[in-house]
Point group: D2
């Protein structure tokens, strides 16, 4: 028998949906987000869900665009919600095989804070855990996940195993996740075992790794403080050259 | 002051170099691998380095190609070396912006084992930690890293923050990592602070996360056993539909 | 001696810059765009340059967002400028190895028209020619070009050889294209032969292919009319199965 | 009524299948290749099909590995077959969202010739036309196509509109193209209209563009001869700087 699950109830998670639908109720990606978020809530996790297009987010590699001449920028408030969470899950629809522009915008704005440091002097997002949810009707879950998970680990997130999940149908345009189609009384994708299994596994893996890092007091410090990497045995000290003949 | 580094000396790491050079001494990527491996050795880690083209690896999504009619297949022995290690670092050169064919071959062969399970019933590679090293002369470190880190997490590896490092020069063909060029008495890239810093940070982050997972007895079990995901609150149980009007 | 260049003076080109800078004068990508556009103007081509952030473009997979409840959407006017041109060049900065969100937005809006047809019944953009210009300070010209060129050919553009160009510096953050740095009296990248050569070649190749297609009356018709593909010998008619034993 | 199709019967095409199956009869990708090739043959085109794993191709960025110490290298013969054709279609299966290692190997070996020039002094592959065919059971047609089409255009191929086609099933592992499954008397994917339409359109678009380029005596010369780009108005001559205040 599997060991009992750890207590996750002190953890916080935020989902950010990069849907191109201004109304969250129209987003297919939001449906799968709700399934992952539902598991977290069942585990007592404090879950926050951001529908990016409910907000007016400025473009630009800045932390607050109102300081750079824009009349409005809702990003700083969203950044606080992201910083308050142990876990971040990015959700995106697929268009032409890529994540949405809204998702790209979210990543850019998070990246603009990457010059900041956490309490240990590590990059800002160290100690947090990331995953992604991708839906479309045709192709591209892996291609989008590659981009999203890469961006998250690059700015400091840790990525547990199988940290992506999603749904697409057979090649070609067609129904999206949760659409109802003639001849079936169940919305498309809702009963797909592969999607449900991977969504479940991703969700628990995010919780497990967040638990480990929270209990460790964040991502362990040593050799990974940006401005102090020369204080430990480091790459510049090591001999790169092959042994000669 | 930073806390003292944990003891990493019971850990094992394997580097697999997907260079297109049959002779490891000709591989530029091997030079940067040696720098990361050097740090690990300084920390007492047992380090194994595989130069893939020293071996004759068969093509195919099989665990042992000699059971499928091929006269020779060195992969099963390499798989044992990968399985013996807590940490895997894939090294690749960049060609046309992509990882090498040899690297793709290594990933395919590892993926062919993905139907197997570890002692906890999780996917085979759960509990291990992965990173990558990418070198080229022109462009593509991030594009290659995206592919390699995605593949590793997809089959069960955990990915710490900033798990990739590499070197490229200014756009266009030119010298590769470690080449000597006229007008400089130092090989190209050896003194690049960005590369040395990221290589250092990646190496320590791999060690830290491997330490955490080793001490936890592997990646925590629960909700992530492939064939038992329905025994926990799971995605299929959660309501995906938005609250109605 | 090379043959004289054809007369290109009846052609029209549009460049769309997906910079994250609201002020076009701050865009590094715009500098390289100006070099390609300058060649076209020297050949008598009618050149239009769009700085996307000069406009308020709505999100969404729609042709005109004001018909879907948005208060403003400048896209339809931009779409007209794109449709008026034989040649489209997308320009983008690189962030985290990807094209900008603004560029993604431009592609999404163009894609939203892909249900429309041209005068021959082909997809809307058939007969047009596409390329891209990518600048950053660190890495990702090829990764971005892959996405942009793929998107363009997918919706109907023809792609000539070497249809991308760009500039990045040595790995790591640093100066961007056109920045002035201490110790040099020439802006960064301006004298890079690789960038200047590829920009030149891309520009002429776009012109040559646009010339051929204009003279042919558009992309030749036959077997490529979306709704009439079954009227010619087609894939469904062909035997996919290998000859049996 | 559509105009009659041009006469394509003087054209030559080569398909290169990067399947991981040593026996071509086991390749699912080969089934879709056969459908595209069948259309070409119906148009009188001389079609050559290479199953890469029928050959022993050495690794390495060299034109002939036997000149670099390898005991055998079948590539030079394959390169001749590629050079004999106006049209190249690369076929690949998808593994972990990427093209196969064999396909990567084929591209590397073609790229190794990129220092050579054609009769006009242009890069070697100028005047030729390229496309791709991708099959898998789960996800990644677009991601693979991006890589393959980018590589082809980068080394000199021209890419017509919609130059990729493929088949995948609903998300998750499952049947591959041409597999027979219980409950259906038709092999999987054979009747997929989207796949058949796109395969048809790709095939005709390759023929049309090859026809245009053959009739033009190759890709037009001017501004695109690698070593003579400074003889025309070029990028280095153009002012990159925005008009000042």
């Amino acid at each position: 028998m599997a060991p009992p699950l750890p207590d996750f109830s002190d953890l916080r998670a935020v989902y950010v949906n990069g849907s191109l639908q201004y109304d969250a109720a129209d987003s297919h990606t939001m449906r799968l987000i709700r399934r992952s978020a539902g598991i977290m809530r069942r585990q007592g996790v404090d879950v926050d869900v951001v529908h990016a297009l409910d907000h007016e987010i400025a473009f630009g590699m800045v932390t607050d665009a109102t300081e750079h001449g824009r009349p409005r920028d809702d990003w700083p408030g969203l950044q606080e919600r992201i910083m308050a969470a142990d876990i971040l899950v990015l959700g995106t629809p697929i268009w032409l095989g890529e994540p949405s522009s809204v998702t790209a915008l979210v990543i850019e704005r998070m990246y603009a804070y990457s010059g900041e440091r956490n309490d240990h002097g590590q990059y800002l997002y160290y100690g947090k855990v990331g995953g992604c949810i991708v839906t479309g009707n045709e192709d591209g879950v892996k291609a989008c996940s590659k981009q999203l998970l890469y961006a998250l680990q690059h700015i400091g997130y840790s990525i547990p195993p199988q940290a992506d999940c999603g749904w697409i149908g057979e090649v070609g345009p067609g129904a999206s996740y949760g659409d109802t189609v003639e001849g079936s009384d169940r919305p498309v994708g809702y009963d797909n075992d592969f999607t449900n299994r991977n969504t479940t596994i991703m969700t628990y893996n995010l919780l497990h790794l967040a638990r480990l890092l929270r209990d460790a007091g964040g991502f362990p410090v040593g050799g990974n403080v940006a401005d102090r990497w020369t204080e430990v045995p480091n790459a510049a000290d090591q001999d790169p050259d092959p042994v000669g003949p």
